[in-house]
């Protein structure tokens, strides 16, 4: 990242989610303002990272009689994919970014929801 304070890569998931939502608003209303970022690898890396399942954000809450597996990163992932979807249609992308985004998307497509659930359960157990 070019700037250490960039909120899209913040340590807290709710801050990152807010930043991604704001970037979606910019991409929808003022895509030209993001023109300079089409070749910024760090920016893309960060957005792609946010669209991945993050084991650190999956927690098991033990209620005694039952357990709940909570994935705090789910909403961030959805928003990040929304952002990617808007960006790829509005910005001119370069080879490495296309590869990276394709990789992230294929990974996601290749992991059906049932497997994602299984993965969550495995990780949490």
């Amino acid at each position: 990242m070019g700037n250490a304070v960039a909120l899209v890569g913040d340590g807290k998931v709710r801050v990152r989610e807010g930043a991604v939502k704001s970037l979606i608003a910019v991409a929808q209303l003022q895509p030209k303002a993001l023109k300079d970022y089409s070749s910024n690898r760090d920016f893309w890396k960060c957005v792609v990272f946010n669209s991945h399942i993050n084991d650190d954000l999956i927690a098991t809450i033990d209620y005694g009689l039952c357990k709940e597996v909570r994935d705090e990163g789910k909403s961030l992932r959805l928003e990040s994919f929304n952002l990617l979807q808007i960006l790829v249609t509005r910005l001119t992308l370069e080879g490495p970014q296309i590869d990276e985004i394709m990789g992230a998307t294929l990974h996601r497509i290749g992991t059906p929801p049932s497997m994602q659930r299984a993965r969550v359960a495995t990780t949490s157990s």
Binding site: M1, G2, N3, V5, A6, L7, V8, D10, K12, R14, V15, R16, E17, G18, A19, K21, S22, L23, I24, A25, V26, L29, Q30, P31, K32, A33, L34, K35, Y37, N40, D42, F43, C46, T89, R90, T92
Partner: protein, 518 residues
Amino acid sequence: VFNNTKFNDQLKIESSKILLRIIQIYNHILINNEQETFSLINFVLNELKKTAIVENKCNLLACLRELVSNDYPFSQYQRLWDYVFETVARTSTVKVQTIAFAILRRINETFKAAVPADSKYYASLLGLLRGKIKEFDGDKSIKVAVLKCLASVFAGLPVGEADAVYFLENLSAKLKIEVEKLPIVETLLRLQAGKVCSPEKAKVLETITKQVADNLGSNNYELNVKSIEAINQTLAIVGGNFSQATLTELLEKSKHLLNEGKIPLFFRPIVDSNPKMLKPYSELIIRSTETYYIAKLISAGVIDTSAVVKILKGLDIIEKGKKISLTLGSIGITASELLKEAEDTNWGRIIIGAVGYVGDESALGPLFKLLEGLKVEENRYAVCAAIGNVVSRDQGRLVGKLMEAASAVKDVYLYICIFKEMIGYNSQPFAQLPQLIEWLLAKSEDKFEAESNYFITSECVGKLAFISPEAAKLVVNNAKSANENRRLIVANSLRFGLEAQTSSDAYFLKEYIQAIGT
């Protein structure tokens, strides 16, 4: 493919079709690349000169239409519009002419702000259109293309009186033709514009306005709307010069629209010059809740305040609540009179809204007192909105006092709501703007009861940030804060502050994006 001499006509047509499709799909990417765009334009122009196949020409012209963009200066398109002019003048083929006019329209709409009115481009275009509108024969699609082009030209060009009369006279004769009605009315709308109205123009406009009024019963919604807009605009320009008989005819023809409450802004020039003429329609006007008209009718003595309130009480309070409040606040009833009726009911909520529009600092005490007594959540929120409305008219003095009062109470959410409403009513800079931003950010450091409260705070902060670059800087600086909630507010504030009309070059937008994205 295009250079392949073995390709027959059909293959060439298919190739140009594919090229058009590619341009349509990838235009958003192409248009970002100046070199690619203009090499493509030049390529298409060269191909156009080589081909004699009509369908191929149409496809290639359509490619040119797609490639016009305001990302580049108008002068760069010189070769393109020279070719299109030449095509319109020389070709008699319907399809080619129609697309050529569509391109001229596209050029116009894209560059209307950038091309000077006295340019060679406009002079030649106007000459071309004078000829076309005079003969006005041939295929329907060419006629519609010419009319649409004419409407778009006049949207950006100040029209001389002689030109306006010329075009109006020629259009008036053609208004009976159903298919051309809408583009004619649109053209008419553009032609009327202009501060000066000569007696000749007024005379033609009176005739054409009566003809346009016949469209008001049409099932075509767009034609209805445009006709009303055209009549409204005509009246604004020459209203005083129309005969009484013409005005009465226009009012009667539009009465059913008022009855539906759909388009109530119709009578503005009449209510300004001769409000008594609207007496037969006064109840319908009150039902439309258009405050400007109602206030005018009251001040002219056509109706009295109590009659207005009585009719407003009978309206659908849920659907028209805010408009009724605004109306009540605009007809001369004082805040103290209104406050007597401020109860925990639906009508009470309307009254509270009205207090917001007329009240000053003295109304704040009773409004805060009301907050303590009201139980219905919607009504309590209405009080917050009313307080925000009152404060918005005197931010310089009242924001500081409100922040002070907020520091002494536990329920800070009410005050955050009040500030949110205040910004909605007035987004001008004020003295305590930096203090208010800091106050909101400091409050967010506490643990709020619900996550949604952080969003309301973000909305406030975002809207305040976009008031001035200094305010934005203040907010953006908090992206570095060690406090998670402050960073959360900054991250979310951009989406709430950003609006469609915000310039993509805005200094603070760049700062914001830098703090959030890279």
